[in-house]
Amino acid sequence: MNSRVRELRQAQGWSQATLGQRLGVSRQTINAIETGKYDPSLPLAFQIARLFGEAIEAIFLFEP
């Protein structure tokens, strides 16, 4: 799944480690989400959306 997590994180000037700390996950998990290798769980996706103040579907772009 494609996402705008990297774009939103960089707009805030945060490193992957900083975002990981804010979400309670490791830097590697953030990297895997940004590169599209891992789709986050629904609770984590909601946390990400809430942190950036956007809707989930505006951050995670589902392509069947």
Binding site: V25, S26, Q28, T29, Y38
Partner: protein, 194 residues
């Protein structure tokens, strides 16, 4: 490494410990071979750049949730001590008295150790973040699938008379195979996701 070398010497050279029986020497040698193999594997991982990178990524990702709970090390340590105590006590107690109470008590010790080790593993799993937990669970699941199928296949070959193995050793190696296959799958998944 020094401890492994000293243990191997004790097992192989009769001089320093003449009272040590042949079966105890075999046990010591087996432990030495196991510890040596783990150390050698670690050195090989550190020597190959791609493997070293994956290994340190894994340590970093696991470290994220590992700071909170000291119970895990205690539970796992007590479990391993109980397994060792069962072996030592059984060698001493069973040939002497073999009263039903002692046999039942000794038989229950590994169950207690299993319970403690399982609790420690579950606590550890809950500390990991969701991606690391997924990798951990998938690697154990795949390893269990592969190893149980391999054991079933070996049992079929054994019954068909096409394979001759010592069943006692095969039981011991079950854990070793699980760990080996699980490590291989773990590394593959780490490289896939990270």
């Amino acid at each position: 490494m020094a401890l492994i070398a000293v243990t191997a010497l004790l097992a192989l050279v009769p001089g320093p410990w003449p009272g040590l029986s042949a079966s105890h020497r075999d046990s010591l040698l087996g432990m030495t071979a196991g510890a040596g193999a783990v150390l050698l594997a670690l050195l090989l991982v550190l020597a190959v750049p791609a493997a070293r990178r994956t290994y340190f990524q894994m340590l970093e990702a696991r470290e994220y949730g590992a700071k909170r709970d000291k119970r895990i090390a205690w539970l796992a340590g007590i479990a391993l001590a109980l397994f060792a105590a069962t072996l030592l006590l059984a060698r001493w107690a069973v040939p002497q008295a073999a009263s039903p109470a002692i046999v039942i008590g000794l038989g229950l010790l590994p169950l207690l150790a299993m319970g403690l080790y399982t609790t420690a593993t579950l606590l550890r799993l809950r500390q990991l973040d969701e991606l690391m937990r997924k990798i951990e669970m998938e690697s154990w699941a795949l390893a269990a699938l592969v190893v149980t199928q391999a054991y079933f296949a070996a049992w079929v070959l054994l019954k068909a008379g096409l394979l001759h193995i010592d069943t006692g050793n095969a039981l011991l190696w079950l854990g070793v195979w699980l760990l080996l296959v699980r490590t291989g799958v773990y590394v593959w998944l780490m490289r896939r996701y990270l």
